[in-house]
């Protein structure tokens, strides 16, 4: 009996789907507590590594998340190699507010610091750990954009490595910070040299043009 190619294809697809269902999901990636920068790290932030955060037409915000780590660019700061992700802010639309930082994962949180840069990649402002808050599923800063800010840099902060973000209030912590260590009680996530980072851009008005024009 001759089987039609369509039936065979359907059967193969079904088999593939079953196989996909049977495959257990990979374990969540652990926190990276060291970074040796397999690629060539540079002394300066490189503009060509930038990715533009775009907003869909008629939308008022756009988000771009990227896994920072060995695959992304890195910079040498004080002899330490630090992975970074450079976001370019969209042009031809008026940016109101920016949110940027790391995304909580099961076992890691990118040890982010955020720096805004002008068109020449000169720093405008730097946001350290005390400026970050847990906002939704992220550990991020949220700030109004200034006219001369054209890039947002998310770079690893080595001071956070070996520490953990604590999800619960720490009664014995007089400083009131949520940054502790693995020894502290309660749910926590370790800071890491690798992990999801994101930048979200809010516009003053809905985007009149699409991503290609931005």
């Amino acid at each position: 009996m001759k089987q039609s190619p369509l039936k065979a294809a359907s059967a193969a697809t079904a088999l593939c789907l079953v196989a996909a269902c049977a495959t257990p999901p990979p374990p969540p990636p652990p926190a990276s507590l060291s970074f040796d920068g397999t690629g060539a790290c540079t002394q300066n932030i490189e503009a060509h590594t930038a990715q533009t955060v775009t907003i869909k037409k008629r939308q008022r915000s756009g988000t771009l998340s990227i896994i920072a780590g060995p695959e992304t660019a890195c910079q040498v700061v004080n002899d330490a190699k630090l992975p970074y992700v450079l976001y370019k802010l969209p042009g031809s639309v008026k940016v109101s507010t920016i949110q940027a930082g790391g995304v909580f994962e099961a076992k890691r949180l990118f040890a982010a610091e955020v720096v805004t840069l002008d068109a020449d990649l000169a720093p405008v402002r730097t946001f350290g750990p005390e400026a970050f808050l847990q906002r939704g599923g992220t550990w991020s800063v949220f700030f109004p954009s200034r006219a001369n800010e054209r890039y947002v840099l998310i770079r690893a902060n080595p001071d956070l490595i070996g520490k953990a973000y604590l999800f619960t209030e720490q009664p014995d912590n007089s400083a009131g910070t949520q940054i502790g260590t693995a020894a502290d009680a309660g749910p926590k996530t370790d800071y890491s040299y690798g992990g999801y980072v994101f930048a979200r851009v809010f516009l003053e008005e809905a985007a009149a043009v699409g991503p290609k024009e931005q």
Binding site: P28, V103, F104, G136, P144, R146, L153, E204
Partner: protein, 318 residues
């Protein structure tokens, strides 16, 4: 089940979920204060918008067949969600009605307990907010206002205003929320700040205390990173680990003093976190210049976490 029944079921489900959802229904964009643009010395605090009463928030009964989650089991007690779905639109309506009855009964217990304890949520919140603002050198004075239920007070520009801005806090929920089969004190608040002279919106942010499910979003899906869009920009105020109650009776009957203390703390921490956002534009939040080998970087803290120490310069270099 025909198409009309499916649509009706969907409508009931939507109602069940939306009745639980704490939505930001207005269309104002989320905004953070910029200390470079405005400095706040004196603010008016509108009387805090409060919900009708404290509530115990659980998950609505999930009526999809075979999806009797732990939370819906806790919620329903004897009611089988699958049975509701199996009964079609009528079954769904019956289950929804039972769910509403359970909610009403629980909320009544909470209300009685808080009344017996003489609890005044608004007073607790406002006292903590004013105290935190004063500590940050912002003079805050009350303005009694009336508002439509669940809405912000309409703002009008006043070029002769003696204060810099008006602060309008709308607490959309306070009480207790179930998470992973235990109850925690919870508060959900939204805050808007308007320039007193121009009426321009300066800040629009939201804060959530409790709801530990929000605290560690990765636990909901351990193999995937949390979606940054989940939870949006809402600030999650850290909760106290040992503030959990195993049952509704535990916080309404067995341990009312501990329940009131936990809820008081939740409101105070939310107020303090709200104040921290406003204090980003306080006169004391001086901008400092960091010194680094590759030129200075201006460092600042636009929204310090509640209880954080004064933000000193962050000396990072590019």
């Amino acid at each position: 089940m025909n198409r009309h029944s499916i649509a009706a079921c969907a409508a009931v489900l939507c109602f069940a979920f939306s009745s639980q959802a704490i939505a930001q229904s207005d269309k104002d964009p989320v905004l953070a204060l910029d200390a470079e643009q405005i400095q706040l010395n004196r603010v008016i605090l509108m009387s805090t918008g409060m919900p009708e009463r404290a509530t115990g928030e659980d998950m609505p009964i999930d009526m999809s067949v075979g999806n009797s989650t732990a939370q819906s089991m806790v919620n329903s007690g004897q009611v089988s969600p699958a049975a509701g779905a199996a009964g079609g639109i009528l079954g769904a309506l019956v289950v929804a009605a039972i769910d509403a009855g359970i909610d009403s009964n629980r909320n009544g217990k909470i209300e009685r307990m808080l009344t017996e304890q003489g609890f005044d949520a608004r007073a607790v919140f406002e006292e903590a907010l004013v105290s935190a603002l004063s500590a940050g050198r912002i003079e805050a004075s009350h303005k009694p206002v009336s508002r439509a239920k669940g809405t912000f007070v309409p703002v009008t520009a006043d070029p002769d205003a003696k204060h810099d801005a008006s602060v309008d806090v709308l607490i959309r929920q306070y009480g207790f929320t179930i998470d992973n089969m235990v109850w925690y004190p919870s508060v959900f608040a939204q805050v808007k700040i308007h320039d007193a002279k121009t009426g321009k919106l300066l800040m629009n942010d939201a804060l959530s205390y409790g709801r530990p499910g929000l605290q560690a979003p990765v636990q909901m899906s351990p193999y995937l990173p949390a979606d940054p869009n989940v939870g949006s920009t809402t600030i999650v105020v850290p909760y106290v680990l040992d503030s959990a109650f195993k049952t509704v009776d535990a916080y309404t009957q067995d341990e009312p003093e501990r329940a009131v203390a936990a809820l008081t703390h939740a409101l105070q921490r939310t107020a303090k976190a709200t104040a921290a956002l406003i204090l980003a534009a306080a006169p004391s939040s001086a901008i400092t210049i960091a010194d680094g080998p590759v030129g200075g970087v201006e460092a600042e803290t636009p929204a310090a976490p509640s209880g954080a120490p004064d933000a000193d310069a962050v000396t990072e270099t590019l």
